[in-house]
């Protein structure tokens, strides 16, 4: 159905090819997995499958990419996208319309389908993905799981024959991830060819027919999914675990003992009469890494923003070392690493970024400390690079280092490892552990079961927190 035959591709103005001599094929009803460390060429593969390379990104392509026998070089991007649907890591990147129904309808309108047919297809995918109640909702107001479903619904409404998924679980909670696996199983049974590009492997058992491991732009290993159970292979290529435990129930809850940072009867609501937090109390211990748990929409990000002073509480107070702290003071005494890294990188070089982050605190940090941070986060060789030119994993390590160098009394991280390979995840887990051992308080919002298992000492579960109806 879709085939890459001896494909070599180079981006414009790049001497070295991004991928070389790639031979891949996905037949109807077959699912292939492309995995590998960050920078191994997986994203380029996605762009080759969906035609964005070279149609959108230009560059040089050698070899053939064929869909149902037709060479994609002879097809327009619009024609390719009718046959090859793509689900991006961040669904917001593929939303063109501003509400769910419009988003599903957009591509169908440009295909010239009749209004009745468009309505029928919207109804079909809305029923399939449980989107009926949110068809008129803004795409910006959806939870991550809902965004993923809306994006998938918009793609499947075009009835593609191939579905390419780029890190589809990066922002999903484990339950939504399993739900996605079920949906993909159904699509596969319907005869759709699936190409999954992902670092997380545990949810793909039973779905994947062939696993391909990429390294430096080449296929380094291919075989059945069972090959990935080999620890030596995973270590060699920096892959994540194939089987993970779910630590969300086994992690001990926070104890009732007074912690260094505490929340006292925290109340907050975005809309009157619909409180999101209602009398929440907790104590975060020094030296602990606490996993902030709960399904999408439980208020985890909101609580994080309240704790750092980005939002104002309706009632209650945050205390540090037993003393109430005002929101404006919280901003100077706490640190948060938000999900979108592009917004958090400002300076000309990695070193300057760290020094600028350190310079805003009351205690002056030395250049030596910045240098130590560079080494600790594996960024020393990139010290003079522009932060915006780093890879996703490198940017993530840098923004965490910037958060830590300020020595906040509590450091909060929102999904710090989404879309990261095994090695980057290990580096971040290790750094959080070190920060906590130095006496810091760490609060981690994450759906990444591997990270939770490796780092967390306690859990704060918002799902169990009582709230008024």
């Amino acid at each position: 159905m879709i085939e890459l035959a001896d494909v070599t591709y180079s981006y414009p103005h790049q001497a070295a090819p991004a991928v070389e001599h790639i031979d891949l094929r996905a037949r109807p009803g077959q699912a292939i997995l492309c995995t590998g460390a960050s920078g191994s060429g997986k994203s380029t593969l996605v762009r080759l499958f969906n035609g964005l390379a070279p149609h959108f990104f230009k560059g040089g392509l050698r070899g053939r990419v064929r869909i149902a026998g037709a060479d994609t070089a002879d097809l327009s991007l619009a024609r390719i996208s009718r046959q090859v649907g793509t689900l991006f890591q961040d669904p917001e990147h593929q939303f063109f319309a501003l509400n769910v129904a419009d988003e599903i309808a957009a591509a169908l309108e440009w295909q010239g389908l009749a209004t009745g047919e468009i309505e029928s297809r919207i109804a079909g995918v809305a029923d399939r993905f449980g989107l009926r109640d949110i068809l008129e909702a803004s795409v910006h107001d959806l939870s991550e799981g809902q965004k993923q479903k809306a994006a998938l619904a918009a793609v499947l409404a075009q009835r593609p024959r191939v579905l390419v998924l780029d890190e589809p679980t990066a922002n999903l909670d484990p339950e939504a991830t399993l739900e996605l696996a079920g949906i993909l199983g159904t699509l596969k049974a319907d005869g759709i060819a699936l190409v999954v590009v992902d670092h997380r492997l545990y949810w793909l058992e039973g779905l994947i027919d062939e696993a391909v491991v990429m390294e430096n732009g080449r296929v380094a290993h291919r075989g059945p999914f069972a090959d990935l159970r080999d620890d030596a292979l995973r270590t060699r290529f920096g892959l994540r675990a194939v089987a993970v435990n779910d630590p969300r129930q086994t992690l001990p809850p926070l104890s009732a003992e007074a912690g260094r940072v505490s929340g006292q009867n925290l109340c907050f609501s975005y809309e009157r009469d619909r409180p999101l937090l209602d009398g929440l109390c907790f104590d975060l211990p020094a030296g602990g890494v606490v996993g902030l748990l709960g399904p999408n929409g439980a208020g985890k990000t909101t609580l994080a923003r309240l704790l750092v002073g980005l939002l104002r509480l309706n009632a209650g107070e945050v205390r540090i070392d037993g003393r109430p702290v005002r929101p404006s003071e919280l901003l100077t005494r706490t640190g948060i690493v938000l999900q979108n890294m592009d917004h958090q990188l400002h300076m000309r070089s990695v070193r300057q970024e760290l020094l600028t982050a350190a310079g805003t605190t009351r205690s002056l940090h030395t250049v030596e400390e910045a240098e130590r941070m560079l080494v600790r986060f594996g960024l020393a060789h990139l010290a003079e690079r522009h932060p915006q030119s780093l890879s996703g994993g490198e940017k993530q390590r840098l923004v965490i280092a910037c958060g830590m160098i300020r020595h906040p009394e509590v450091l909060i991280l929102d999904e710090p490892t989404s879309g990261l390979d095994g090695r980057n995840m290990e580096t971040i887990a290790r750094s959080l552990d070190e920060f906590a051992r130095e006496g810091g308080v760490v609060l981690v919002i994450s759906h990444d079961l591997e990270l939770l298992e490796k780092t967390c000492t306690h859990r704060l579960d918002l799902a169990g927190h009582p709230r008024r109806a």
Binding site: N50, L52, H55, F56, L77, A78, S81, R82, T86, H93, Q94, F95, F96, A97, L98, N99, D102, A105, A106, A107, L108, E109, W110, Q111, G112, L113, T115, I118, E119, A137, S138, H140, D141, E144, Y270, L276, G297, T301, T302, R305, G309, L310, L311, L331, T332, G335, I336, L338, N340, D342, H343, Q344, L345, H346, T356, A357, T360, T361, Q388, R406
Partner: protein, 256 residues
């Protein structure tokens, strides 16, 4: 995740219910008018009327930030003009009335474009542009630019939050106390995000086949209603009043 939603639909207001073509007409008429209007009174009147039009959306904070930004730009420009006059007295002293004209023009444009971008379905805008039989190379980028505005506003909010968490302010005080650093902290990520967002929207548009003029259909066809007629007539009345104001005694001499 609610906390991260800077730009939501904002509910349904009178402006949301208007046909996109009406809002485009208001935008084009206002844009053309400000080319010819050149007195502070007429432009001030039009800025106030278009401001009221934008505020129907009830996005008060957004409008406030937008106005503050324009005010800062005007203040910085005025400051430099005074400085230059101080250094080189032969340069004319800034005339506030004349000086206000380009900023009032910008304000009018900001009001009508924001009202269009934040209350219209992008497909409706595309359909309207397509119906005008504009070339694809013109109407697709125009629609993408309008779609870009909500994403850009979201980016501005997130960048300001990021500055706060690093201990930096982004308001006038920070701008005057550490101008170079504040500008870099604010604009560097915004420029990068603007480039990435335009790429992402371009990809999204391409993958949806946007621009395929021959085949496109319209899932929610638009219809003019009485309120569209009323708004269009109201806009013409306001513009006429602005021109009448200009034809009266003026503080300034000619075109600027």
């Amino acid at each position: 995740m609610r906390a991260s939603f800077a730009i939501s639909s904002g509910g349904t207001t009178f402006l949301h219910a208007l046909d996109a073509r009406t809002k485009m007409f208001v935008g084009v008429a206002a844009s053309l008018s400000v080319i010819f209007l050149n007195t502070p009174q007429s432009l001030g009147f039009l800025a106030a009327a278009s401001g009221a039009y934008l505020l129907v959306l009830r996005r008060f904070a957004l409008a406030g930030v937008c106005y503050l930004f324009l005010l800062l730009m005007a203040g910085a420009a005025l400051g430099f003009m005074w400085l230059m006059h101080g250094i080189w007295p032969r340069m004319a002293e800034p005339d506030l009335a004349r000086f206000s004209i380009p900023f009032l023009r910008t304000l009018v444009l900001a009001n009508v474009v924001l009202a269009l971008a934040l209350s219209s379905r992008i497909q409706a805008v595309l359909a309207a542009l397509r119906a005008l039989r504009l070339p694809v190379w013109l109407f697709v980028p125009t629609a993408v630019m309008i779609r870009f505005i909500p994403s850009f506003l979201k980016d501005i909010k997130e960048v300001r939050e990021s500055m706060k968490t690093r201990g930096y302010g982004s308001g006038p005080a920070a701008l005057f106390s550490r101008p170079m650093l504040t500008v870099r902290l604010l604009f560097m990520p915004l420029v990068v995000r603007a480039l990435r967002t335009s790429d992402e929207l371009g990809v999204a548009a391409e993958l949806k086949g946007v621009g395929n003029r021959n085949a496109a259909s319209c899932y929610r066809p638009q219809r003019f209603s009485g309120r569209d007629l009323a708004v269009a007539c109201g806009a013409l009345c306001v513009l006429t009043a602005a021109f009448l104001l200009q034809s009266g005694p003026s503080l300034s001499g000619g075109m600027h």
